[in-house]
Amino acid sequence: MIPDSMFLPALIALPVVGGFLCWQGERINRGVPRWIAFFSMLAVFVLSLYLWSQGGYDLPAGNGETRWRYEVNWQWIPSLGINFHLGLDGLSLLLVVLTGGLGLAAVVCSWREIQRHVGFFYLNLLWNLGGVIGIFLALDLFLFFFCWELMIIPMYFLIALWGHAAETADGTEGRGRVYAANKFFLFTQTSGLLLLLSILSLVFMHYFNSGALTFDYVTLLQSDFPMDPMWEMLVMLGFFVAFAVKLPVVPFHSWLPDAHAQAPTAGSVDLAGILLKTAAYGLLRFALPLFPSASQQFAPIAMTLGVIGIFYGAIMACAQTDVKRLVAYSSISHMGFILIGIYAGTLISLQGVVIQMLAHGISAGALFIICGEMYERLHTRDLRKMGGLWSRIAWLPAISLFFAAASLGLPGLGNFVGEFLILLGSYPSAPWLVSIASVGLVLAVIYSLWMIQKAFYGESRGHSSKDTSALPALTLRERSLLLFLMLALLALGVYPQPVLLISEGPMQIVLDVYSSVGR
């Protein structure tokens, strides 16, 4: 019998070891890495579901009782008070399940797309996923930062080595994948150093006040040394900016459309579905609870940025001709809701944020998979060259419509629940902003339906204007992959209660800290 404490390290070790085996497995043949990657992610997914099935997440933290369902705490760098400290609560669990599921999807969707250097591709993909899981489990600020930086390098390679070449020479699309990868890396890495500075400032403030040098999340959270408001605001802003770049919040977003447009399908799925969630997780786990009063002060600005993001993303999405850029801008728009929900600070809005994170991960991931499948058939991402595809590709158009409807917030699907809860929960604290934000939903309808209209209805256009012959239908692999995601989204939309139940405890704790300081 495996001891309980080994589960969490195993969640990180599985993709990391699997990735390494993929690299070496390529020596045998190209198929081996794919299967190794598949089984590693399957194991992560199954293990995370097993941990869910064990229950025990709905307990809010009692007095002195640990709030982590599973916990591991090993010494790492004792002279600096750094421990290898992992913990799993409801929030972490949900995101690990999401990572497992979408990671599996990313492996499957790149089955045929990636033909060059397959082993090294899966090494990068799996190490990236391992880093992300590390972020969701880390309870030591140093370890968190370590994983935060660690997931960037493999992502960089995914974009730079397997990305799409620039499609046309008009405007920003002309710049290639290395440009996009560099931009991604510079944005995230520089903001990462800001995060490191903030972490160190916090740790030293604690050290000067208590004499104990520690990076432990729980210790830092529980210490109540007097913080200079100015200093607290600056450090909180350091955290916020680092997360805002990754989320992305509007003035820091410009890497995202480029990265998405150029990334391979698996990279986009990973980026939109999982990586963006690490930022929301960071805000929920670190920025808010560690600096409650500064966050309270900052909340109106953050929520305004959220509203700006919703509109900016949606309007930009309406103007895109590259279908992947369109989905990328729609992500910016959806992340605006998450930002509003986080800073609104009610239990309902926070619960909505959790649902929205999961639902957006699935729907955006699926849309990127669909873009990838269209690209494999048409060799273009340009909406102006599509059209009339409904009769030419079996299965795909209807499934696309499903996910586009999810993205625009159709009741019955996960995104609706998320957005509804966020708007409902945020209304009491910021009625005006929420009223404006809900207008953003109309824009979501416009760009989603516009995308479907352009791609699938009307007449065939562009270079293949005379060509009305059928294109290859979706294979069994592609169908079952999309079906899996559809079912997940449907389940989340129709019966979100199990998710809400296990995220309630952690969200309540965030809320208790956040609202403990007077407004």
């Binding site: 790492w76 930062f145 930086e149 290395v178 520089t190 490191l196 500075l197 160190l200 030293f204």
Partner: protein
């Protein structure tokens, strides 16, 4: 008269000097590359052993002062050991690099040993006389090393450039020493430190001028901006093993000396001189990284990157608090390993991709290396990631400590510059890494089949790579080691 303990403390120096002399005789009577190289390496290994013995003795007992000139303590031994190991690595690089060398090969090892003697004297000096002698003993063999490719005009040019600028630096250093001597009437470092400390917080002008000149001289040797102009040309002209030695041992020794000076003259930290340190640090970080951005020559790129790295080092040093000594030592340690790995790969690629007797300096030589030689390219990648300070490599720990020290002293402007320049730095380290993965140009360059993994240099590279990764993930051994050195 020397006591037994003092002789024991000097044993590394004695053994090393004896090896150098014997090596010279051996070359004179029996010129054979393999034998001579093995002899040099054996000498270095015995020296290392002696150093470790002295180190353990010093830790158990007390620091040993050998006359007024030298002081052997944990700090000295840490840096001696580090530099001996580095020289060993340089020897293995040289052994590979010199495989196809058309001229006399053996003297390179001799020059390496001689320069190392100077470096060891430098880090153990406690007197301006021994300090100066050490510095010159380090510099003079370096002229020869840099110009070792004597039929290549760029190498000669680099040697002369280094000679002129290094001599200028030495002259400034002498003038600075003269100022301090005129003020204090002694050359002993502790004695000068005591005299200055007793005069209160305000430094007399003479001392200020003296220290400024000394800092400028050391700035020349460390190639800090604005005294960096020689660096790129010298790195480019020097053969790869000499470049590796120049980038590591020569700089470690001088940086260790600077650290030592600051610990002897704490007054440096509390005066206008700290502003000079901060200015040098900021300029070096920014200029080094900016200048490296558009380099397509790997050696020049490494030269500019080393400028910026000593800017980072100086950031930790200028902080002057309880972590700054430790952070500087860790930084030097991490920088050394990453740099050695980079130069090692450069040498291996130079041997296998030799084009018209030039080193493989252009980034185009590295295009697609990963698909042909994945492990070699992976080592290069790790070295670059480590230099860029990415997690899971040792470089991250170094940068982490520097930021730790700087935050502790609230040097916010310097930290801001560090963040910005690290961002710029990423840009060119990434260029090297991307080149490794691009498709190779369709020119067959692989002329000489060479199983690098089985050569001494290959073994060294693999050890370096393991150290970079292992200590990057679990840095505690390195921190403990530095702790032993900074007691």
């Amino acid at each position: 008269m020397l006591t037994e303990v003092q002789l024991f403390a000097l044993s590394p120096l004695i053994i090393l000097s004896a090896s150098a002399t014997l090596l010279m005789l051996l070359i004179a009577f029996f010129r054979h590359h393999g034998t001579n190289a093995t002899f040099a390496v054996m000498g270095l290994n015995i020296t290392l052993l002696a150093t470790l013995l002295v180190w353990s003795w010093v830790l158990e007992n007390e620091p040993i002062a050998v006359t007024e000139l030298l002081l052997i303590d944990g700090y000295t031994c840490f840096f001696s050991a580090l530099m001996i190991v580095t020289t060993l690595a340089c020897c293995t690089i040289a052994h590979t690099y010199l495989k196809e060398f058309p001229d006399n090969r053996e003297e390179l090892y001799l020059l390496l040993l001689l320069a190392l003697i100077g470096a060891l004297v430098l880090v153990s000096s406690s007197h301006f006389a021994s300090l100066f002698v050490g510095l010159e003993m380090l510099s003079v063999p370096l002229y020869g090393l840099v110009a070792y490719h004597r039929k290549r005009s760029r190498s000669l040019e680099a040697g002369i450039k280094y000679l002129v600028l290094s001599a200028t630096g030495s002259a400034l250093l002498l003038l600075g020493i003269a100022f301090l001597y005129a003020l204090c009437g002694t050359l002993s470092l502790p004695a000068i430190g005591q005299q200055l400390a007793s005069q209160g917080d305000d430094l007399p002008f003479m001392a200020l001028a003296g220290f400024t000149l000394i800092l400028i001289a050391l700035g020349f040797k460390l190639s800090l901006v604005p005294f960096h102009l020689w660096t790129a040309d010298v790195y480019e002209g020097a053969p790869a093993p000499a470049g590796a030695f120049l980038a590591t041992v020569a700089k470690i020794a001088v940086a260790a000396l600077l650290l030592r000076l600051i610990s002897w003259f704490p007054i440096i930290a509390s005066s206008a001189l700290q502003n000079i340190l901060i200015l040098l640090a900021g300029l070096s970080m920014l200029a080094g990284n900016l200048l490296a951005m558009h380099q397509t020559n790997l050696k020049r790129l490494l030269a500019y990157s080393s400028i910026s790295h000593f800017g980072y080092l100086l950031t930790g040093l200028a902080a002057v608090n309880f972590v700054s000594l430790q952070s500087s030592m860790i930084y030097l340690f991490t920088y050394t390993f990453a740099t050695l790995a980079a130069f090692g790969v450069l040498s291996v690629v130079s041997v296998t991709h030799k084009v018209e007797s030039e080193d493989a300096e252009g980034l185009q030589h590295y295009r697609g290396l990963f698909w042909k030689q994945p492990y070699l390219a992976a080592i290069m990648m790790m070295s670059m990631l480590s230099l860029a300070g990415m997690p899971m490599t040792i470089g991250f720990i170094g940068k982490f400590y520097v930021i730790l020290a700087a935050i502790n002293s609230s040097l916010w402007w310097l930290i801001a510059i560090l963040v910005v320049s690290s961002g710029i730095g990423l840009f060119f380290y990434l260029r090297v890494i991307v080149a490794l993965f691009l498709h190779a140009p369709r020119i067959a360059r692989l002329r000489i089949p060479f199983d690098w993994g089985r050569s001494a240099c290959g073994a060294m590279l693999i050890i370096m790579a393991v150290v970079i990764m292992l200590l990057g993930v679990y840095p505690q051994p390195m921190i403990s080691l530095v702790g032993l050195g900074s007691q």
